[in-house]
Amino acid sequence: MIKTSTSPRIVLFIAKKEYCEVMHERTFILSILIQLFIASFSTFLVIGLTSFYDPTALGQFDLQSTSVSIIGESDNKLYPFIKNSDVTPILDDTFGDAYTRFYNHKVDAFLMISDEHPEGQKIIHINIYLPKSDLKATLVSLQLKVPLEKFEQTVRNIRTKRLEGYTPLKLTFIEGSLKTTSTYFEFIYVALLPLLMFTPAFISGGLAVDCITEEFERKTLDLLLVSPISLLDVVNGKILLMAVIAPVQSFIWMILLMLNGISIDNALLILVLVFIIALILVVISSIISLTFKERGIAQLFYSLILILLFLISYLFTNSPLNMVTRLSIHSIGSMESIIWICGYVLIALLLYWILTGVVKTHHNDR
């Protein structure tokens, strides 16, 4: 007797059984913990990074002003530019003096500028000496970049007049009261949010591999199939649960982010998208598990496919990752988003159709 039919009652029963197992093993809690850890780690990175790129944005992490040394006299071309910036310049007569000062941590960088005039023909050459340490060098360079760019602009204002047919594009920025860096904003919405939203879906895919291969390896599947339950029922039940728990976790993330003052638009649509992507991943991992029946191999293929999908998602605008970004900051029209979500639903259906085929051949093999 070949059982290929599936009944919703049995599917729900299997899903419930899996749910009890997941809850019993407290794996769910562990999963939340993992994600919390990843999130805190990212926030740490964000705060760290933004405090470099825009020290003023985080008043409480006030950085000490940096001093640099310039080799030359007080009529040095660079001196006024640096004096008008966040960096304190000190003048030194010789390279040796500056180097000693630098070595003794009195200054964090020193500069040496060639004799060429801004009105001249030749290139103005500046040597910058930075400490080898990662963070200090980053910090000093960030602060030095501003006056150096201003200096470059001044020289350019003189010299670009010599160019034929060059008119600089001048746009005036009328700033609102709010000032922010795009780095911070984009890190939150482009990197962090999509990652947090889809991590549960990635985990669900891995869990599906475990659930299905376990039945094979522990040989419990045969027992299940003796009862009036078909293989499709079993697989469906597992898929259902794994696909449903992903948006639930994403929802928890949203609440946490919102509590932290990060507003998220179109929350419902994002959750729908997460559900569909989780479904796609779980169906893919079910196909893999049914084909290989061995956990190690199945997990390997699943992670390879996951990386592949990740790479592919960088190739087009409305990839799931970017779509979460665009949805969350209201940068996508409702028509466009619905069309794309329908597209993903179609992919999920197609994959599910392949899965039923795999299940059937599996039955015929028996």
């Binding site: 993992i34 850890f37 990843i38 805190s40 780690f41 740490f44 990175l45 010789t94 390279f95 040796g96 070595y103 003794n104 023909q121 290139i123 103005i124 050459h125 500046i126 040597n127 000496y129 930075l130 400490p131 080898k132 340490s133 990662d134 963070l135 060098a137 030095l144 150096l148 760019e149 470059e152 350019r156 010299r159 060059y166 746009l171 920025f173 609102g176 009261s177 795009s182 482009v190 990197a191 985990i203 891995g206 869990l207 591999v209 659930c211 376990e214 040989k219 932290n260 956990r295 190690g296 191999i297 390997l300 592949l308 790479l311 960088y314 190739l315 990839s319 970017n322 970004t325 940068s331």
Partner: protein, 614 residues
């Protein structure tokens, strides 16, 4: 003499051979073919992605312009999506859907975070556009008149020892900064001066670009390489956290192989497959070593390839030496990863649990590797992470033996002890039963305490690196809470970890009825556990901090009487739990643990009062 050694070797080498052939069997022809196909697909996809822009922030900002000539300029950046509007609609534009409005030459932004961010992004885009236009003139001396040459000079780091929450030694006053002595090398100055003078006087064409193509070549940003020549506009600060990026490169293979390893262990348990091996005349150590060795070898082989990739082919003695050093640093990391995955595979009751356990543990260990590494060259604490050393080696520095010991010491310690605990319960009743995880953990401790060298005193010492790791993780986790609360929670949680570690041995002794429950015993074990923890803690500080600076060493040593108070606190807190269980029962373990935590936490708060209630 040699025969028994050979005999011992035969045991684990047979298992190792067996393991090797079995894992070969798993990959039949079909699987291997599919694997090759997928990996080549991956490489192809990676290649295609590298050729195009990363579409990870496409069309996130909407801009309305009145002058259509601006559209192609703004849309050079994929983040922007432009529409043309006429002047009258631009003024009444519903600002909700549009982030920026450009009327004539003026850019208007609204007061939302998104709009402000779009405005800043546009500024950067226009700067980039300006560079492109200027470059097309191909007249470097007029378009790019200023050039920077960036040099990185070595200098001795000055370390301010951070006041960390774990410091219970009662020294909240900051360590007086030693006046730096000028031990600068006069020769160095002379060579550098000469070099610098030469650089400045040289015809710029030797170092600086003369045409468009060369400028483009220079402007190509390489994420990991430090810039040496640049214009001020292109001057990109060296990316911090290179250590984190390298860590990813090295950790991926370790993570993959340890997946297979834990799966193989789990496999043995799934169908009692291991039963035959267990009845064979082999010690469980042999089985564990035999099963582990092939995977460690495979992992080290993959890591050697990664090392060659990051360090270049070993052509000179120097490259060989630093490559070998990198592998020597990676070895304890591999060992730790494998130890925890081994333990995880023994504890978990199902594949699902194993997956979660593995992910959890990899996240924690990676966190331990990443977090301190982010402070590479900034703070002494970064040396805790071996990744810092790897970065130093890749950048061509050398490392000292003391530094190696400092950063890998805890790794070796934890890895070996985890393997030890796991081997203790590598027996039928733990492998093939569905015992709860807590019971299995108690089994480990019971087996350890039954061992001739086992005692609660040494147990406390062994568990100290775990406390270290746990506390470090807590710092990361609590980072997103506001300031005073995070420290308060941190103090109590880390106190709880310490109390748990001290009392877990005593709990096992009483619960498993390994000793007679008398008041004398309860007090004795409390003293042993407390003293063990105290000594271990101080030993670790001395061993690990010694390479950083003698001043710290001296500080710890000179504290003298101050050491007495923490010792008493450690013993008292252990005593609360121990005697508490004596007077009631082990069921009251958790409440008494809470009480001890409270006392310990309050003491720590008293010590750190200056920092918290500032």
């Amino acid at each position: 003499m040699i025969a028994p050694i050979l005999n011992l070797m035969a045991g684990w080498s047979t298992i190792a051979k067996w393991e090797f052939f079995r894992s070969k069997q798993k990959f039949d022809k079909k699987t291997l073919m599919l694997l090759v196909i997928f990996i080549s697909l991956l490489i192809a996809a990676a290649f295609v992605v590298a050729q195009t822009n990363l579409n990870m922030n496409n069309d996130i900002y909407h801009v309305a312009v009145t002058d259509p000539y601006l559209i192609p300029i703004i849309e050079t950046d994929q983040r922007f999506n432009c529409i043309t509007v006429n002047r009258s609609t631009a003024q009444n534009l519903n600002i909700n859907n549009i982030d920026l409005v450009i009327i004539d030459q003026k850019v208007y932004s609204s007061d939302t975070e998104k709009s402000a961010s779009a405005s800043e992004a546009l500024e950067k885009t226009l700067k980039k556009y300006r560079e492109t236009v200027l470059l097309s003139h191909n007249d470097i001396n007029n378009t790019h008149p200023v050039w920077l040459t960036i040099h990185y000079l070595e200098r001795q780091e000055e370390f301010h020892l951070m006041e960390n929450e774990q410091d219970k030694t009662g020294t909240e006053q900051s360590i007086p900064e030693k006046p730096q002595t000028t031990n600068i090398n006069q020769n160095d100055i002379e060579t550098y001066t000469q070099e610098a003078a030469e650089l400045l006087n040289k015809e710029p064409s030797n170092i600086l670009p003369v045409n468009k193509e060369q400028v483009q070549q220079i402007s190509k940003n390489n994420l990991l390489q430090k810039q040496t020549v640049s214009t001020p506009s292109n001057f990109a600060p060296p990316i911090p956290f290179t250590a984190v990026m390298y860590s990813f490169l090295f950790l991926f293979p370790i993570y993959f192989v340890s997946q297979f390893y834990s799966n193989s262990i789990m496999d043995e348990r799934a169908n009692r497959k291991c039963e035959l091996v267990l009845v064979a005349p082999l010690r469980s150590v042999d089985i564990v070593v035999g099963k582990t060795l092939p995977y460690i070898l495979a992992c080290m082989m993959i890591l050697s390839i990664v090392t060659v990739y990051s360090k270049g082919l070993p052509t000179s003695m120097e490259v060989i030496k630093s490559s070998l050093l990198i592998l020597a640093i990676l070895f304890p990391i591999v060992l730790l990863f494998f130890a925890v995955s081994f333990f995880c595979a023994i504890l978990s009751r199902s594949f699902k649990e194993l997956t979660f356990g593995m992910v959890f543990i990899s996240v924690v260990v990676s966190g331990y590797l990443f977090f301190p590494a982010m402070f590479a060259n900034v703070h002494a604490i970064s040396l805790i992470s071996p990744m810092t050393l790897i970065v130093n080696l890749i950048e061509g520095d050398t490392i000292k033996a003391g530094e190696y010991l400092f950063s890998t010491f805890t790794f070796y310690l934890v890895a070996i002890s985890v393997f030890g605990f796991g081997t203790f319960i590598f027996r039928e009743e733990d492998l093939f039963t569905q015992k709860p995880i807590t019971e299995k953990m108690l089994d480990c401790i019971e087996m350890y305490l039954l061992h001739p060298y086992g005692s609660v005193f040494i147990l406390s010492i062994i568990l100290i690196p775990y406390v270290y790791m746990a506390q470090l993780m807590l710092i990361v986790m609590l980072f997103n809470l506001p300031m005073p609360y995070s420290i308060l929670i941190m103090i109590f949680l880390s106190a709880m970890v310490e109390e748990l570690v001290k009392s877990i041995g005593i709990f096992t002794l009483i619960k498993r009825k390994m000793v007679s429950t008398t008041l004398r015993n309860a007090a004795l074990f409390a003293i042993l556990a407390g003293a063990g923890f105290f000594i271990g803690e101080k030993l670790l500080i001395i061993i690990t901090l010694a390479p950083i600076g003698a001043s710290v060493f001296g500080l710890v040593m000179s504290m003298g009487t101050l050491l007495l108070i923490p010792l008493i606190i450690h013993i008292t807190c252990a005593m609360i739990v121990s005697c508490g269980m004596y007077y009631t029962s082990t069921r009251w373990y958790l409440p008494f643990l809470g009480l001890a935590t409270l006392l310990h936490g309050l003491y720590n708060i008293y010590l750190l009062r200056g920092i918290i209630f500032d």
